[in-house]
Symmetry: none
Subunit: 226 residues, 4 copies
Amino acid sequence: MTAREAGAVADTATGPGAGAKPAGGRPAPKSARGIRTRAALVAAARQVFESDGFVDARISDIARTAGVASGSFYTHFDSKEEIFSEVVAQVRDEMLHPHVRARGGSADPRDWIAAANREYLRAYRRNARLMAALEQVSRVDQQFAALRAERASAFIDRNAALIRDLQQRDLVTSRLDARVTALALSSMVSRMASLVFVEGEQIGFDTLLETLNWIWFNALQLPEPS
Amino acid sequence: MTAREAGAVADTATGPGAGAKPAGGRPAPKSARGIRTRAALVAAARQVFESDGFVDARISDIARTAGVASGSFYTHFDSKEEIFSEVVAQVRDEMLHPHVRARGGSADPRDWIAAANREYLRAYRRNARLMAALEQVSRVDQQFAALRAERASAFIDRNAALIRDLQQRDLVTSRLDARVTALALSSMVSRMASLVFVEGEQIGFDTLLETLNWIWFNALQLPEPS
Amino acid sequence: MTAREAGAVADTATGPGAGAKPAGGRPAPKSARGIRTRAALVAAARQVFESDGFVDARISDIARTAGVASGSFYTHFDSKEEIFSEVVAQVRDEMLHPHVRARGGSADPRDWIAAANREYLRAYRRNARLMAALEQVSRVDQQFAALRAERASAFIDRNAALIRDLQQRDLVTSRLDARVTALALSSMVSRMASLVFVEGEQIGFDTLLETLNWIWFNALQLPEPS
Amino acid sequence: MTAREAGAVADTATGPGAGAKPAGGRPAPKSARGIRTRAALVAAARQVFESDGFVDARISDIARTAGVASGSFYTHFDSKEEIFSEVVAQVRDEMLHPHVRARGGSADPRDWIAAANREYLRAYRRNARLMAALEQVSRVDQQFAALRAERASAFIDRNAALIRDLQQRDLVTSRLDARVTALALSSMVSRMASLVFVEGEQIGFDTLLETLNWIWFNALQLPEPS
DNA sequence: CATGAATGAGAGTTCATTCAT
DNA sequence: GATGAATGAACTCTCATTCAT
């Protein structure tokens, strides 16, 4: 279980196939210059999305920030949505710390959960402003909302599997619907991350993490390690 | 504790001062005609916000839906934000069911929590499309986000008070920060309401409610009633 | 048989229902000012279409010529095509000289034909530059081509009826397909009008008219009046 | 008299100098590769003009269809007009069937006219979509209109010569202006070809041909062959 | 107060043309 | 010669806001 899995409900930036360029849109640039310009546009877009949000970001600003003519935007992208998903793909890659993947050792599910929550919150904090834009766009753009839901589901499923496992070992009551529980706890984590790192709610990182862990542990009735 | 208190994190429509007209904007109309037009505009705005969301709603659509000339909008409101907060005030009043307020009897905090969650989910479901618009606008409009936070805080505080009370009676560990815990659990409820009633996640009402209750109870380590 | 009937093949500006405003588009203006502006736009559009043709006419030029802001165009029309059809409707009305309609007296079909051709050529000459734009647009815009064809057909049909009548009186051979013949002779007239009045072919009006009449008469084998 | 002579009024694709490259524009390519690219562009242009018409054809589409970079277009042509006239030159050559040129035998002018009309209609039908583009462009581009007129005149002159010949042999009345008559009859043929083969008017080939022949014969009062 | 038209800044897009590689 | 990306002028269209009637 990785950090992303814990709070992935709100997270387009996570999911399988990370690193792959989205298929749609204009053909990939073939010259070195084209590659450079495209990269400059994506970097500029990220900056603009972070400071203005998705709705208020203007294509002309992105182009100007990238240092290219406004028409050049359309050499590489068809729309604001398209470059946004490119930015999101980039951030998704950045959010995957190597140490998040390689995990193991402890047999205590509490350790897994705690680690996952910690990594999720850290990743969210690192990319807070872009996450804000991402939440905005899923409200505005149905297509993005669907994408977000689809991607998140893989992780919800894994969380649900964890819960089911605990249920079979009689550590968690069978009365709970594993998937709904996973969804609820994951939602809590991502929503709190947004409140604290995007909306400025004043809560210390450790307090936040410990509280969330506490709720997870008790919700799943995981006993204190002896 | 009322329904609104449980999930008020995401809820601009709750808070002190309910029913009061916003301070800014145009003077309240005196003539009967003026009052009628204003009311028609607010009703129309609600319709338009529900079907188009905040970002895509156009002033001219609101006016046309209200059956008045587009210029008349500005006789009563200065901006889309202003009429939106008027709509929100209206919904806030609707969300206050009498039976939610008058509560009492049971001494078991579990009953309070269960009732609060049920009422919150019901209210959210009744106004799902407007809640969607509301979430959108707080992403887009800084002013609204602040407003939302401020209003929600009163209820978080009450939830926190409940937790503190339980802590003093040694029903809940003192290691928890009462306010943060209240925030996290409330966030979970409002986020799940949004997922299910706005984004169409397929979860039955009872399953949803029971799962959320379960998490609340266990997080607060409230013992089964004997 | 009227002038329009003779050469109506290429003529959107003729047909039943002349004078009626086209149904589509924005609502008709309700204030005096709105009516004035709309009329100014149509007049300006005519000017611009006449000097630039349909393809090169810019909406901003039409607005500037009308003395209104460019956005005001869209208060009254949805597109260049729409205002063009308005202009065409206007010209159609102008092309209907009263004396063209009220005809009668002579029993000799040669007189009818000669009068029809003369009136058609005169009308075309009066509106030569707009007719040029009209021909351009029917090449460019499928919708207009269809419209033109549909409207023209009524007149072709009447010409065909004339021919059929002559065939029944054995003045014209029955081997001819009446409709195709009517189409061919009408096409000839409208095409020559375009060549002479739009493209500047140097042919005197009387020579042109007499030649066309000659061809009609002989094609239909109408005997010289004794 | 050739097929092209009958209806050449509307036909840029016919005239003296067939096969010659236009004088203006870039120098002819020397290298084999250059020749290949140029030919590919012309072939692609024809395709694009046929499906999109002149106005809507884009340089970039032509280049892409030719399988070359868009910039390469300008190695060979200066403008859309220039490559269009190249395409037209190519079609003009194709329209010259050998059997159209080699004619003789019959002394009856009716035979000449009938053969010419038949060949013209066939040629037009073979190239209908390009002829449509050709008519469009002469409406839009003054230069092309002039070119069309100039080229057509040679054939009109020949038709006129035929008529003058018939006048001198007292087969046609001297009251007719030979050139205007030639123009009118030729216009009729080309316009009908356009109606039927481009605009989809439902007339059978034979009916069309016979009707047009009939009008020619009677207009020129050519007696039935005994 | 209501009307409904006018305004015009501003954003998005297109594409012929140029040019460094 | 070919490439393919960059350019930027030119246009279209939208809509919040104003204002004369």
